[in-house]
């Protein structure tokens, strides 16, 4: 083992340790920044040391080396700068699609590494070849699937694409891809293989399968799907690491693989659905015409609602997906600060699946500057509603739907919800009669202590802020 191999190996070890340490630190808001910075230094270390491999390339690659180095620097610069700029400027509400895009890039890189392993014919033993094929398959799926997810979340692909026999068609594509993978591996067992066509078709098949698998899934399910593809990319990277005998890739990849899988399962569970239900059930296709409770909704103007909150002693605010759509988090916090200045006790109640990503609302509120000790988890606050004057619901719907408790036929039956209906007075800010993610009507809106404040969240909150300004500090 040469000195360079030693240094490269050690740098990978240091990076792995820093990744683990960083992830561990991310488990608390007070240390989370330190965690990502540590992981970042790990990455800097391993990427910088990797350039030492220049002195270790095989004889036959020497002539290409200058070009290769130039290409590497160019690619690093372009990729890094572009993504860095994108990442710095993206709106917080567009975070899910951004993560999808970056995840697609990782999957694509993993697939590229696997492809070159075939191209260079690095091994002719069945085991490493099989692992290479698996890495390529998963990487490709993650790449094309994440791009579809990005397109859906970014509003570039608005309707799920569904047709009869889709499941069978997808299974057929998958079987074909597996067959091509097998043919590629078999041809590579030969010492002088001619596997180019097989391998090319295999990669195309894998990319196609990623697309086929993702198009029928509704846009709102995409966060779960991205989380799954995130785990997939990790797994693909781990397998690439085995193929390249690079333990740092193995460790980092597998950590993400298992962490991402756990996260996906937790997310699906929080939405009260199974993972296979998310992936294969075409959720939302039939729920459009779901019938709901009939009755009368009362509506009040923003000024009346604001005034009554101004003179309440306690208010709990329940933000939901609509707040993100309206990008009204800043206005909301402005309003909350006014209430606080008037002596009202204000808390935020966050449902675990409010919004479209786990923790989505926390990120939005954090962006607006809301301190995280004003924000309460569902379990911590659910008992307080009964003793609260006003529950203000902003663009949330499913997470406060009492039929989750009572109506066994509802698609969200069994999901734990925030007990907003127990507050003395409930205000709901939404634009109209629109249903939420699950497509069902919400009996809460028909209760006698509920009043609707119709309008875009941003507009309504602006009016409320104006109203309170008008009232002054008396």
């Amino acid at each position: 083992m040469s000195a360079i191999e030693y240094i490269v190996g050690l740098s990978g070890l240091v990076a792995s340790a820093l990744f683990i340490y960083g992830l561990k630190d991310m488990s608390s808001p007070t240390t989370a920044v330190r965690g990502i910075v540590a992981a970042g230094w790990g990455m800097v270390c391993v990427v910088a040391v990797c350039f030492l491999e220049i002195f270790n390339v095989p004889e036959e690659a020497r002539p290409y080396l200058p070009v290769n180095i130039a290409l590497a620097v160019l690619a690093l610069l372009f990729g890094g700068l572009w993504a860095g700029r994108k990442g710095r400027t993206v709106e917080m509400t567009a975070m899910p699609q951004m993560v999808a895009l970056f995840n697609a890039m990782g999957g694509g890189a993993a697939a590229a590494v696997a492809a070159v392993a075939f191209l260079k014919h690095e091994s002719s033993a069945p085991l490493p070849l099989g692992v290479t094929a698996l890495g390529g398959l998963i990487g490709c799926m993650s790449f094309s699937g994440s791009i579809i997810a990005w397109a859906k979340l970014d509003g570039r692909m608005n309707k799920p694409l569904r047709f009869g026999g889709q499941q069978a068609f997808n299974a057929f594509v998958f079987a074909g891809t597996l067959l091509l993978a097998g043919l590629t591996v078999c041809s590579q067992l030969d010492p002088a293989p001619v596997s180019g066509p097989y391998a090319t078709l295999f990669f195309i098949g894998a990319l196609a399968f990623g697309i086929c698998m993702t198009v029928p899934i509704g846009g709102a399910d995409m966060p779960v799907v991205i989380s799954l593809y995130n785990a997939f990319t990790g797994l693909a990277v781990g397998l690439d690491g085995y193929v390249m005998s690079n333990p740092a890739l193995m460790v980092a990849g597998m950590i993400v693989g298992s962490a991402g899988t756990l996260l996906t399962v937790l997310m699906a569970k929080a939405m009260n659905r199974s993972l296979s239900n998310v992936l294969f059930s075409n959720f939302g296709a039939t729920s459009e015409q779901a019938k709901g409770p009939e009755g009368e909704m009362k509506s009040v103007g923003p000024d009346d609602a604001a005034t009554s909150m101004r003179y309440a002693s306690s208010v709990i605010i329940i933000p939901g997906y609509g707040l993100a759509v309206a990008q009204a988090q800043q206005k909301l916090y402005e309003f909350v600060k006014q209430l606080q200045a008037a002596g009202v006790d204000v808390k935020f109640a966050i449902h675990p699946v409010a919004g479209r990503m786990p923790g989505h609302m926390n990120v939005l509120l954090a962006e607006a500057g809301v301190p995280y000790d004003m924000i309460y988890d569902m379990e911590d606050i659910n008992d307080s509603f009964a003793s609260t004057d006003v529950a203000l619901i902003i663009g949330a719907n499913d997470v406060v739907n009492p039929s989750a408790r009572t109506d066994k036929t509802s698609p969200i039956y069994g999901m734990p919800i925030l007990n907003a209906d127990q507050a003395r007075q409930v205000f709901v800010i939404k634009r109209g009669q629109g249903t939420g993610y699950s497509g069902v009507q919400n009996p809460l809106f028909f209760l006698k202590n509920t009043a609707m404040v119709y309008g875009d969240a941003q507009a309504v909150l602006s009016k409320m802020v104006e109203t309170l300004k008008g009232l002054g500090s008396n």
Binding site: S258, P352, G359
Partner: protein, 109 residues
């Protein structure tokens, strides 16, 4: 790079790393799930190292092209993942200094 790794040893590493990821994530509070997703997204950006190795020892135009795109995509994954995670995490802050200790407690439990 590090040659001669048997399959069994590789399995050991996979199992240990998988367990580590599992147990570390199972402690993260749901408030941090979104930054965590992008944080782990950043970590698998280490694939850029694999892509760099591939590109350095490329011996044909095909390999160079694939390697170039591998590094390009991998670098995007790393940079983008880091920047968005850092941005999100930097936004989480407690309300006032004196309350910091009790927040810490709350966050750790």
């Amino acid at each position: 790079m590090i040659t001669s790794m048997t399959f069994i040893i590789a399995l050991y590493i996979f199992v240990l790393a998988g367990f580590t990821g599992y147990i570390v994530i199972s402690r993260v509070p749901s408030i941090l799930h979104t930054p965590l997703m992008s944080g782990s997204n950043f970590i698998h950006g280490i694939v850029v190292v694999g892509a760099l190795s591939v590109l350095f020892s490329a011996t044909s135009v095909t390999e160079q092209v694939i390697g170039f795109f591998g590094v390009l995509l991998g670098a995007g994954n790393v940079m983008g993942g880091y920047v968005v995670t850092d941005r999100m995490l930097a936004m989480f802050r407690p309300s006032v200094k004196p309350a910091a200790t009790s927040d810490e407690k709350k966050a750790q439990s």
